[in-house]
């Protein structure tokens, strides 16, 4: 069997061509290129940033670090080799083919945000974590039991009872390589447990709960470690927001780069094919979960530009809690886009489909591969009005539930009654789950509970016959049809030291994230085209000639107009709200006591694109012939100074 595994000794992330560490990164470029280090990873590896842009000062006296800039960040997830390679390749192609854009704009590239993860072929960094709180660090990760060099999954028929493993899985009849939840109502007995390949290394009765390639621990997921919507105390989130040197280095560096207007993340999750939602906020009610309504049409338009170029019709997404993209948008206040660079071939429009209506292009939520990543259940529950303590109960591990049950036992009867009354208010589906889990039963799951409840909304698919997960079927088809079966490890029986005979198999790690080598050229071309298109749509500020009008004897009106000749507004609605970066300010250079009307410092928070404008206007005293200096200050668009003379006809 041909395995899809590594060819590169540095990061084991995939075929050599994908490994950014083995190749000189953006070695070309000469004086148009500069490289520096923003900080070191936890493992001591430097995190580099490459600056691309025309050297020297431009017509406005701006250096590279003073021109409107796009920041590209890749490799936040160490397994996402295609992102790292794309970041480097896009940089090279911009230098080769788009020097014009690099005269008016700057592109910063951090191609390897998580060097530890890249080396470990891990989604996380190398932080020491005690995920199961047992006083031992990283002691029980996944293990390669079948000797194929990778950790996949393990299915166990009728597992020994002492481990309390959650069963409920069946082998799909139609596609026996895939597992799915059995449906009791269809007469199925889910007798299998499904878990990450590995032993209970520390003998605590849990499998792979704390360590690399396991289902918990094994470092910190940097994309959960940023302050926005921070998922505190969740596995992978870290000790506190920005507890990790990598995420802290990036945020600290960003504070010194007030010329950045957009961030593009190459990572496993998309927000371009599917525009983030609007109208939902965090618990404080102020920070969007998604994007601001007023930014939606712009974000969507950029997404259309992206899908026109890439043909993508679907891509994996996940909740943004603690992510870099969420931070860049909701806190740093700049446009933030993200793409996996490559998606499954059936999620890309074929050439012959091109004629079809573009509007059909809909997004599709894809399940993640790898363990421990899931749609945020808490968010779903919160939206159903489930109180926080019950959300914690439903989403917590058995320890959490046990502690809460113990807490409940100690309550007074009145308090217990109050809790029960609150429970009775909840949707049937939630109540069924809580009651089942309170009795120590495994989580029946929302779907099962909804079935029991019989009043949940009908599932999107007709349930004539249970079928394997659509997404997994598609991945399997891609592996079979296009990858010579390399994406899937066939199930083999293995004697497990604790569980008896088990079967090991499943999707090869990284397979669902990284493409075959022969597609790379096309992907890099697409991403370069998109970056060029995005740079072309960034805001451009033009300041018109100031006008002077005589109001009366020794009294003058002075006005100046700033126009945005680009497409995007000078600041997103979120950017205006966040006020992280200073606005454009027009300073009037006269003594304070000469100003009759207007402020000497006029702030322009956002100017719409496509020719939108903002005006600053004053009435001042003065003599004909006086020269007045107007200074436009902008961290993003450069400073300009003009001098106007007070005279009648101007």
């Amino acid at each position: 069997m041909k395995m899809w595994t590594s060819g590169c000794g540095f990061c084991m992330a995939g075929p050599l061509a994908l490994c950014v560490l083995a190749a000189p990164v953006l070695a070309q470029g000469g004086v148009w290129r500069d490289e520096s280090v923003i900080g070191d990873s936890r493992g001591g590896h430097p995190i580099g940033v490459v600056t691309l842009g025309e050297p020297g000062e431009d017509a406005f006296g701006r250096t590279r670090d003073q021109r409107p800039a796009l920041l590209i960040v890749a490799g936040v997830d160490g397994r996402h080799a295609v992102g790292r390679a794309a970041a480097a390749a896009v940089g090279e192609r911009l230098l080769a083919d788009h020097r014009g854009l690099l005269g008016s704009h700057t592109v910063y590239i951090i191609a390897d945000m998580n060097p530890d993860g890249a080396r470990l072929d891990s989604g996380r960094n190398s932080a020491a974590v005690d995920a199961d709180h047992d006083g031992r660090v990283g002691e029980d990760g996944g293990d390669d039991l079948n000797g194929d060099g990778v950790v996949t999954m393990m299915r166990v028929l009728d597992p020994p009872s002492e481990y309390g493993l959650e069963t409920g899985w069946v082998i799909d009849e139609g596609e026996p390589r895939l597992m799915r939840k059995g449906e009791a109502s269809a007469g199925e007995n889910g007798a299998y447990a499904l878990l990450v390949e590995g032993r209970d290394d520390d003998g605590d009765g849990l499998f792979n709960e704390d360590g690399p390639r396991g289902s918990g621990g094994g470092g910190v997921d940097l994309d959960m470690n940023f302050p926005s919507l921070y998922p505190e105390h969740k596995d992978g989130a870290g000790a506190y927001p920005l507890s990790e040197p990598e995420s802290l280095a990036l945020v600290a560096w960003l504070q010194t780069r007030s010329n950045i207007v957009a961030v593009l993340v190459y990572g496993p999750h998309d927000n371009l094919v599917k525009t983030p939602g609007t109208g939902k906020n965090d618990e404080s009610g102020r920070m969007p979960r998604g994007i601001e309504k007023d930014d939606e049409s712009y974000h969507k338009k950029v997404g259309e530009v992206f899908t026109d170029i890439t043909g993508m019709t679907g891509a994996p997404t996940r909740d943004a809690d603690g992510s870099l993209a969420a931070y860049a948008y909701t806190d740093f206040g700049v446009w933030a886009f993200s793409t996996p660079v490559w998606v499954r071939p059936d999620q890309v429009k074929k050439d012959e489909d091109e004629k079809k209506d573009n509007a059909e292009a809909g997004a599709e939520d894809g399940e993640e591969d790898g363990a421990g990543e899931e749609v945020d259940e808490a968010t779903v529950l919160r939206e159903q009005g489930v109180p926080e303590n019950l959300i914690r109960f439903l989403t917590g591990d058995t320890d959490v539930r046990a502690a809460m049950m113990a807490e409940y036992e100690t309550m007074s009867p009145e308090d217990q009654q109050r809790e029960m009354a609150a429970l009775a208010q909840l949707p049937e589906a939630v109540r069924v789950r809580v009651m089942a889990m309170a009795q120590g039963n495994p989580d029946p799951g929302m779907a099962a509970a909804e079935d029991d409840a019989g009043e949940a909304e009908p599932s999107k698919e007709k349930k004539d016959k249970p079928k394997a997960d659509k997404d997994e079927l598609a991945w399997l088809k891609h592996s079979d049809d296009d990858r010579d079966g390399a994406g899937f490890v066939e199930w083999v029986e293995v004697e497990h030291p604790q569980l008896g005979t088990v079967e090991v198999g499943g999707f090869a790690p990284g397979f669902r994230m990284n493409p075959p080598e022969d597609t790379l050229g096309v992907l890099f071309d697409q991403q370069t085209e998109f970056v060029a298109a995005l740079l072309g749509r960034l805001p451009r500020l033009a300041v018109g000639e100031a006008g002077v009008e005589r109001v009366g004897d020794g009294l003058w009106r002075v006005r100046v107009r700033a126009t945005n000749e680009g497409y995007l507004p000078t600041r997103s609605a979120m950017g205006v709200k966040a006020r992280r970066l200073p606005p454009e300010v027009v300073w009037l250079g006269v003594e304070p006591d000469r100003v009759v009307s207007g402020s000497r410092a006029v702030r322009m928070w956002s100017i719409p694109g496509s020719g939108g404008h903002a005006d600053a206007e004053w009435v001042i005293t003065g003599e004909a012939g006086d020269k007045i200096e107007l200074r436009v200050r902008s961290d993003v668009y450069g400073d300009r100074v003009q001098t106007v003379t007070l005279r009648e006809e101007s």
């Binding site: 006083g135 303590n389 591990d397 000497r600």
Partner: protein, 583 residues
């Protein structure tokens, strides 16, 4: 010790025997370093006092610089610990700090008082000695030394400078700190400015010209209020709109941190300030910290979280009982002070210090707001009238918190009157009452400290079940009200579980018992000799665990309890049928 009406275990009673001295002549305890608490101390004076006390009590006090402030002042903590009873980081410790809001100048005084009083009491006063032998203390007097220096050295008001001195463009004009207040009359305080104005709506009181009164709708006034003392330094037509600083460092902690547009003063990101980062890294790195106290002013409050309503679930009932018990007793120790909840009784705080330690780290934490207006007259006058306040300032403070009005030439307004209540007024405890405020707040914090977990092994029963099989039943007791793991820590998986281990012979099975009367165990299915106590040892309670052991009579086993907060303790158990199997 008999705090909270609960007798502390016999282990500590022996301490009393160490005191050879007869009963002291008076309540006062002599110390090696005298510090006066009828005055406020500058940054340098507090540093000096910390140094002097550390030098006088080298066996008890170690100074450690944990970081540097924005203006490069050392952030120096005193580690107060008796090494004879163990290393400081192997026993429960309390973190105590003050002055994060630098204008709230009492805080650092209470922290200094704490160090001063505790050191001189060690070996002299039985209660406090016993407290210091059981626990360690980390004392940071000034979280915000730069702004305390600004308050004392340059200018200040009772309300300013609260933030740190980090340069920030408050008015978003691209310039930084370009227009702060100015001390025009040179009294070291920022007071008020008034200008004579024929259309003014204010007049000076005929009997007491210090008082400006608003005139009635049909009356004519003579004065207009110009605001805080200062000039329009940057000539934008506004005065004092962008002064020195900064961040509100009590909004810069990583728990429920929200950016500036949600929480004003938050700083650029959690721990973006060197001061908060230094403290945060110390606290995160010292998992033995089991209690936190932070001192602010004013209003007379003992505050607990949550800082926002949606964090209520971080205070499970068993933890609330701890807060309530300490807080309510605190109301007796601190007259006119109330035990209150931050978000409910004050306002929402995102990214606060004690809300972080409580809600994110699971440590029982209080903030005290020192000083309450009820203390001026103390006879049921909770909110003194203006007239009463003038009586107080004139007859008790001899006018020292008021700067008389003087004429100053102002560049924009011509001749103005500058003066008014100075920075020593209003929120600050009058100096002659400072020692009492320090002592009562210190005493409250010692009450809190005394309730940090104190574990000891309780009963041990060894029983031969037949052949080489024995049952060994053990008990770990906690004498105080704070559990070794708070409920929020247990529920949210904060930190490591307590461990109960039995080694030296083969443990074949084990399990917990709810009481000594239970006959069957709740089995610990895996690692029966290494038991995870995810809920720790409850407050004023115990954990009973029964091990089934295979071993020969006379075999010696080691029973060990390890807790993040309490460190490690062990005892030897002999497999024997005699009554006392332990030693």
């Amino acid at each position: 010790m008999n705090i909270l009406g609960y007798k502390v275990g016999a282990v500590f009673i022996a301490v009393g025997a160490l005191f050879a001295a007869p009963a002291v002549a008076q309540e006062h305890i002599e110390g090696a370093v005298e510090v006066a608490f009828n005055r406020y101390h500058t940054v340098e004076e507090i540093d000096q006092a910390f140094g002097d006390i550390a030098a006088a009590y080298p066996d008890l006090v170690t100074l450690r610089t944990i970081g540097r402030s924005g203006q490069d002042r050392g952030m120096t903590i005193a580690i107060l610990n008796n090494p004879e009873t163990g290393a400081h980081d192997e026993k429960p410790a309390m973190w105590i700090d003050g002055g994060i809001h630098a204008n709230e100048i009492q805080g650092p005084e209470v922290v200094l008082y704490t160090l001063w009083y505790l050191t001189k009491a060690h070996g002299v006063n039985a209660d406090l000695t016993e407290l210091m032998d059981a626990y360690a203390f980390y004392l940071l007097p000034m979280v915000n030394p730069d702004s305390r220096a600004a308050f004392f050295d340059t200018d200040g008001t009772p309300h300013y400078p609260r933030w740190n001195q980090r340069p920030v463009d408050n008015d978003r004009d691209g310039l930084v700190d370009e227009d702060g207040p100015d001390d025009l009359d040179g009294d070291g305080s920022i007071t008020q400015m008034w200008v004579r104005d024929p259309d003014g709506r204010w007049e000076r009181d005929r009997h007491d010209p210090r008082i400006f009164r608003r005139v009635g709708a049909d009356e004519k006034g003579e004065w207009t209020y110009l605001g805080q003392e200062g000039i329009d330094n940057d000539g934008v037509g506004r005065t004092n709109e962008d002064g020195p600083g900064g961040d509100d460092m009590n909004r810069n902690w990583p728990g429920d941190w929200k950016p500036n547009y949600i929480q004003y003063g938050a700083g650029t990101y959690p721990f973006s300030n060197p001061e908060t980062r230094a403290i945060g890294e110390w606290i995160v790195g010292h998992t033995n910290i089991a209690a936190v106290q932070s001192y602010h002013n004013s209003g007379g409050m003992m505050l607990r979280g949550p800082g926002a309503s949606y964090m209520t679930d971080r205070y499970p009932r068993t933890d609330l009982r701890v807060y309530d018990e300490i807080g309510r007793l605190g109301e007796d120790l601190l007259p006119y002070y109330k035990y209150l909840v931050i978000h409910k009784d004050l306002y929402d705080v995102h990214g606060g210090e004690v809300t972080w330690t409580a809600e994110s780290l699971g440590i029982i934490s209080f903030t005290n707001e020192i000083w309450n207006a009820g203390k001026y007259f103390q006879r049921g006058v909770d909110s003194p009238s203006d007239e009463q306040m003038w009586t107080f300032r004139d007859k008790l403070q001899f006018g020292q918190v008021f700067t008389d009005y003087s004429e100053v030439e102002h560049p924009e307004h011509g001749t103005v009157l500058v003066g008014g209540l100075n920075k020593w007024s209003s929120r600050n405890t009058p100096t002659f009452m400072l020692e009492e405020d320090c002592h009562r707040n210190f005493a409250f914090t010692m009450l809190h400290a005394s309730q940090m977990p104190r574990v000891a092994f309780g009963r041990v029963e060894v029983q031969r079940l037949g052949g080489r099989l024995w049952s060994v039943t053990t008990e770990v007791r906690n004498e105080t009200i704070i559990p070794t793991r708070t409920a929020v820590a247990a529920q949210r998986g904060i930190g490591a579980n307590d461990l109960l281990e039995l080694t030296g012979a083969g443990v074949v099975a084990s399990g917990s018992l709810d009481s000594w009367r239970d006959t069957t165990i709740d089995e610990t299915r895996f690692e029966p000799g290494r038991v995870q106590l995810s809920r720790g040892v409850p407050g004023r309670g115990s954990v009973i665990h029964r091990f089934f052991v295979e071993g020969d009579e006379g075999a010696r086993l080691e029973l060990r309890h390890t807790g993040e907060k309490t460190g490690r303790m062990s005892r030897t158990i002999t497999l024997s049928e005699t009554a006392d199997a332990t030693e």
